[in-house]
Subunit: 185 residues, 4 copies
DNA sequence: TATGAATGAGATTTCATTCAT
DNA sequence: CATGAATGAAATCTCATTCAT
């Protein structure tokens, strides 16, 4: 792993452990085993570094959310794929998941980055529209429907991460079902 | 309002406006019209102050969530009351609502405080159990059911606050319906 | 005991326990059970308070050093009386003794107070002169002789206070003898 | 001289000039020509800095006290060497000498440091024991004997530093004689 | 006379950032 | 490329002192 990656990774770890609030450059340097000079070679200041961590996390999540997505499948299959991908991303990359969740509304992250293109969101919105047209989903503001589904998935992952309950096959199935039913006619 | 309350209130306002990141004691002092000595008489350091803001917000929300709750009503009426209370709290106290949402997973808030007793949560859990026993709600981990409902409500309020959609009678009705259906049999 | 005395006494205690360095008005108030207003009624500022503590200690010591001093006694008896008085003062009032020793060279105590009239010193100096005239004490700068005696006594008391050795009849006798011999012909 | 030494040295100078009471970090920074960051890189707080000054002074004195000490010499020669070394240290390094004297009983200096190993003290104690065995010194607690000698030397140097008297060949000789006689049989 | 909440000047301390090596 | 000692602006925090009650 390159020094640059060491720095990004150390930063994410520390944010997860202590909160951005108390993450200092000195702590990052120590954790990443680099000198301050090195760090400022790669990132011109702390804010840029944190924004780069955010950007990398968003890119990583962006890829994960569309993994194996096949537009040719049935509405339900596509719906299921998108939700499962989010869930798996949350479980396999909890630090990135929580960081994105926490900082997507923070002024510390540049507006450009926060509004970064999100293919999966667009796909999901049109999928909802399609479902409504077909009479499968209840007619309502697609953003509202999307927000409902999104709220469920994020909440379920966060609940699991802080160990409110187990999350294996059965629970995953039940969660998917809840999402589907929540916006069904 | 006491000086102490002025300080708490100024702190919440500033966190809402600029993010905890950039809230300094100096800004709080100025906004609350108090000297630094006064501030440190009431709160021994910045972390304690922020934790007290969190505590006050949680207490405020705790009361709001149980407003007009009547154990004698039907399951659906009780369910609706609790969800509407959360929604109204979010709409009438968005700063507190968002602050609680952001920092309930943050290490900056003491674990004790984050896990602070929450009567409405207990009531909601037993309401879910009751519904499952009666065959109205789907049998599953009550914490999972609860997290689903909670995820929807929080997400919907946040979406409204950041102006993704309007939230009037119709949308509120649809949201409530989504919650109910999400965990129905 | 009056409030004023409570304050003086609390101050001396705290200086003894923590060093003037870390004695704050707040600690004094708490220890003396008085409000800040009361304290500043009696003493116009912290420096004046500490100086009053010093003054009281010096006065107390001044009296103790001349207790039972009888100009009619023999040279040795007078010598012994003065030395024993110092020793007893140190043992019975260690806080005052150490405070005087530590702060007699500190700029925090006003020059006037530090140079405060010291009858016992004058008496001791003339006693030394008398001894030299009589050929009992070695001829040398009387201040040097005095400083030798004084150094021994102070050192012995401090050593006892920090528990380097016991100090009962035998040791007291040996110390007196050492003083006498140190400046004898 | 390293920055660290600049800081230690500036601190000692200021304590000597104004008393620890009024020495601030800002004054030290200015005198030592370093930024605050530099100072806190080397010393994590003011108390630690002052303790390090004390430690350095003790180490410096420790070396000075044993200069030219030759175990092969006669009892008197060894005695004289140790006393003269202390005297010379006091005269050549008055700031360190007075600082050590003032703070060896102060709670501001950590107990560990105050009780720091002191080779010259051990040597002096065994020298006293040797003298007692040979019937030269009076039989008494060796710590008491030591404290008597120590008290004389410290007192004499302090008296000279604050200009109570001159201290040339004659006075030095008289002081040494006083020490020797004070504990003789 | 006694109180203690409020104050703010000034102290300590932090930490992102620079730059010579 | 990599380093880390040095920096100082800006943050946190302390504490003697005031004053209305």
């Amino acid at each position: 792993m390159s020094k640059r990656d060491d720095i990004l990774s150390a930063t994410l770890d520390l944010i997860d452990e202590e909160g951005l609030q108390s993450v200092t450059i000195a702590k990052i340097m120590k954790r990443a085993n680099v000198g301050s000079g090195t760090l400022f070679n790669y990132f011109s200041n702390k804010e840029e570094l944190v924004n780069e961590v955010y950007k990398a996390a968003r890119q990583h999540m962006g890829e994960a959310l569309l993994r194996n997505y096949n537009p040719g499948l049935s509405l339900y299959e596509r719906f299921k794929c998108l939700q499962l991908n989010r869930l798996h991303f949350g479980l396999s990359s909890p630090k990135e998941f929580l960081f994105i969740d926490s900082y997507s509304y923070s002024p510390y992250i540049s507006a450009d980055l926060r509004k970064m293109e999100d293919a999966s969101r667009e796909i999901m919105l049109s999928l909802i529209e399609e479902g409504q047209t077909q009479g499968i989903f209840k007619e309502m503001d697609t953003h509202l429907s999307h927000q409902i589904i999104h709220g469920i998935m994020v909440s379920i992952v966060k609940g699991f991460i802080i160990q409110k309950y187990p999350l294996d096959g059965l629970q995953v199935q039940q969660t998917l079902e809840a999402c589907w039913k929540a916006i069904r006619v």
